[in-house]
């Protein structure tokens, strides 16, 4: 890594000296399409949300002018605000723990097995090809007490998958794990492949057991992969929406309302207040930034600290 970095530095310094501003202009030209997309699809919407969060902005009548900071005061008193935060955190912890453990296990299975490697890898990855909304609809039917294949089972057993708060949570967790395990397995596999064989050879020569190899070689060297997957899973879970919107609509009895669903409800299901929804979004954005900074710090290797 160190070699390539200084290499590119050298090339750039050279370019400046030899080709001058024309070369720099070309660089800007290459970067322009991406920059335009980022500006148009990310920066402007974010600024718009900031503007909304500081304005009286009902859904039906549009912007009515600034009212800082009343939307923020209103946002923390929105019905179910604290419940939704609590549930989102619980859901995030459960999903991340199970998803990463399972993904690691699947990756090791695929890595170890030689004969069925490609079949297994494909099988685990196939659900990732399905959109989350489509997958949610699929599971909605699976879980349905009326139309689903398990409806007779539910009828005789006297239970429903989505009928109780615990059932709804775990049914949704199951869907999300089914949908994402393959994708996270792939990330883990990439991490495995980044570990040089020499390290394993050295461990073998030293007579390390399988467990010790895993514990003292694989896990420490997978640290960047764990950081990536944890950040992805935590961020994704904190922003969970489609699966709950389709499967539970926040029910039963508001037990599965996530923060993003709350934002959606404030914007479109009753209050119809884009200002308060914007304020909630900004609060979530701030929380995400803090959480991610914290995570990246935590995953930094001891040498970097």
């Amino acid at each position: 890594m160190a070699i390539t970095a200084s290499d590119s530095f050298g090339v750039r310094a050279l370019a400046h000296r030899v080709k001058g501003p024309r070369y720099a202009l070309l660089g800007w030209l290459y970067a322009t399409p991406t920059a335009l997309f980022v500006i148009g699809l990310f920066i402007i919407p974010v600024l718009l949300v900031f503007q909304m969060s500081g304005s009286d902005w009902p859904l039906f009548t549009g912007n009515q002018g600034w009212n800082i900071p009343s939307n923020y005061q209103h946002a923390v008193t929105v019905r179910l605000f604290w419940e939704s935060i609590r549930f989102t955190l619980v859901y995030t912890v459960i999903t991340t723990v199970f998803l990463l453990l399972l993904a690691l296990g699947l990756a090791m299975l695929v890595q170890e097995s030689t004969r069925w490697k490609s079949v297994l890898r494909t099988a685990f990855l196939v659900p990732s090809a399905l959109g989350l909304a489509s997958a949610s609809l699929l599971f909605y039917v699976l879980y349905s007490p009326v139309a689903g294949p398990f409806s007779d089972l539910m009828d005789s057993g006297g239970f429903t998958f989505l009928g109780t708060p615990q059932g709804a949570l775990w049914s949704t967790v199951f869907l999300v794990i089914w949908r994402y395990a393959g994708f996270y397995m792939l990330l883990m596999l990439v991490g495995f492949q980044g570990i040089p064989d020499e390290v394993y050879d050295a461990a073998r020569i030293d007579g390390a057991s399988r467990w010790n190899t895993f514990r003292y070689v694989t896990v420490p060297l997978l640290r960047p992969t764990f950081a990536l997957t944890t950040v992805l899973s935590v961020t994704g879970s904190l922003l969970a929406f489609e699966q709950f919107y389709i499967l539970t609509k926040g029910g039963p009895d508001n037990s599965t309302i996530t923060v993003v669903q709350l934002i959606y409800n404030v914007a479109f299901q009753g209050q119809n207040n884009l200002g308060v929804a914007g304020a909630l979004s900004v609060i979530v954005l701030g929380a995400l930034i803090v959480i991610n900074v914290f995570q990246l710090r935590a995953f930094r290797s001891p040498a970097e600290r």
């Binding site: 530095f9 750039r12 720099a24 800007w28 920059a35 500006i39 148009g40 920066i43 402007i44 600024l47 718009l48 503007q51 009902p58 859904l59 039906f60 009548t61 549009g62 912007n63 019905r79 179910l80 007490p145 009326v146 009828d155 429903t160 989505l162 009928g163 609509k249 926040g250 029910g251 039963p252 009895d253 508001n254 309302i257 409800n265 479109f268 299901q269 009753g270 209050q271 119809n272 884009l274």
Partner: protein
């Protein structure tokens, strides 16, 4: 860190682009607020000059809307272009269009949302046109009143939907009940439902409720309170009266039914998508049910008003109201359609002929209604019905997880005994 030298031009470009884009979006917003004043020289039946009018409705009233639009299009030069939107997406779609100034010329809305939407200025003032109608006092007053804001009228009834008590006469007979006598009180409803449950027929239940559907519970529950002579909301719509004795008696009956196992089990999670399916399949004995779906029932069903805890009868005059949107430039042509929907051709020739309820009381005894005694019953009960009016109706009652759902679910499925505390939650939302 080698990038620092490039930062200044980048920042300049970003700042410029963002400023331009923001300025553009701001000016776009500020120009959408204009509404045209109601035209003065519009003839009583509007202008029919071959204009195309856009009309949006939610899927709930699709059947009636299609028949009305087809009849209008085949008898007028104007053509109405109907778009039907799934009911869960309707508020979102209207909201997005309203913010962007892109509402269709005409759009219908759930009558309970109308007070809020009129207050937000989504509909144009059509007071002079409505006042000019000779039969104005015969038009359903609940719907008309819902569209009044600052003494200006904005909305006419489009499709009326009444909640009625329906019972399956075959199941009543099997359970040894009189198939021609309607249960007169809520307690009698409970008794009948339990009797049908006692038949122990597989898949057959005494009754069904939409216990996770705020709109369904409003539609089927409010009439019981009205039937007892009480109110559900204060006159200004900012206070809930749903902790009064009549309401409490109603929750008690529902709880009794649920605990006795006489309620279709899927009622617990029913969000409104399939809440009438059980009755339609002949698997439910007695249910409070929307009258618009009556034409879809294939077996012999009795129809009566919804009783209160101690008798009486009432109904929820729901359905959709319709008006001219703030963004329409074709008010005169839109009025042609609106005034036509109030005519005998539309009310009797289209709606009554299809078995739907008419919006004008002077057509209640029309030729089609007379051939079906159930329609006469519905039209008679309609006169006793009410339409609740509150600006924050959607978030208090209809929204998923609304305070109203919390109240009912606590009382019927949960521990119970928290009506007063839960009702305070309704008040907090209503009074916002």
């Amino acid at each position: 860190m080698t990038h620092s030298q490039h930062r200044t031009p980048l920042r300049a470009i970003v700042t410029t682009l963002v400023t331009v884009a923001l300025a553009g979006s701001l000016t776009a917003c500020s120009t959408t607020g204009s509404t045209s004043t109601p035209g003065k020289a519009i003839p009583a039946t509007g202008v029919d000059d071959g204009t195309t009018l856009k009309l949006w409705t939610r899927a709930t009233v699709e059947r009636q809307a299609r028949k009305l639009v087809n009849a209008y299009n085949s008898s007028h030069k104007n053509q109405v272009d109907l778009t039907v939107v799934p009911f869960e997406d309707y508020v979102t779609k209207v909201g997005a269009a309203a913010g962007a100034g892109g509402l269709p010329d005409l759009f219908a809305a759930d009558i309970v949302y109308i007070p809020n939407w009129v207050k937000q200025g989504l509909y144009q003032d059509i007071t002079p046109h409505i006042d000019a109608l000779a039969f104005k006092d015969k038009i359903n007053q609940g719907h008309l009143t819902a569209g009044v804001y600052n003494n200006k009228e904005h909305v006419l009834p489009f499709v009326l939907d009444l909640s009625m008590m329906l019972w399956n006469k075959t199941l009543f007979k099997e359970a040894g009940l009189d198939p021609d006598a309607a249960p007169k009180t809520l307690a009698e409803v409970t008794k009948s439902a339990k009797a049908i449950q006692a038949l122990n027929k597989p898949g057959v239940y005494g009754t069904a409720l939409g216990l996770n559907c705020g709109g369904c519970l409003v539609f089927t529950g409010f009439p019981s309170v009205w039937a007892s002579g009480n109110q559900v909301l204060s006159a200004d719509g900012t206070q809930s009266l749903l902790a009064n004795n009549a309401a409490k008696a109603m929750y008690t009956q529902w709880r009794d039914l649920w605990l006795s196992g006489a309620v279709l089990p899927s009622s617990r999670d029913e969000n409104g998508a399939t809440w009438t399916a059980g009755f339609n399949d002949g698997k439910v004995g007695v249910q409070m049910y929307p009258a618009t779906l009556l034409p879809s029932i294939t077996f012999d069903a009795g129809v009566a008003g919804i009783p209160g805890p101690d008798g009486g009868a009432s109904t929820f005059v729901g359905g959709d109201g319709i008006g001219v949107s703030k963004d329409s430039k074709k008010v005169a042509q839109a009025w042609s359609f609106l005034s036509w929907t109030m005519s005998e051709d539309a009310q009797v020739g289209v709606l009554a002929k299809d078995g739907s309820v008419v919006s004008r009381s002077d057509f209640a005894d029309n030729q089609y209604a007379l051939t079906d005694p159930r329609l006469v019953t519905i039209n008679q009960v309609a006169a006793k019905g009410e339409t609740p009016i509150a600006v924050n109706f959607q978030q208090t009652f209809n929204a998923p997880g609304s305070p109203w759902l919390t109240l009912v679910r606590n009382e019927v499925l949960g521990k119970g005994g928290t009506v007063d505390a839960d009702n305070a939650g309704l008040n907090a939302t209503l009074g916002q």
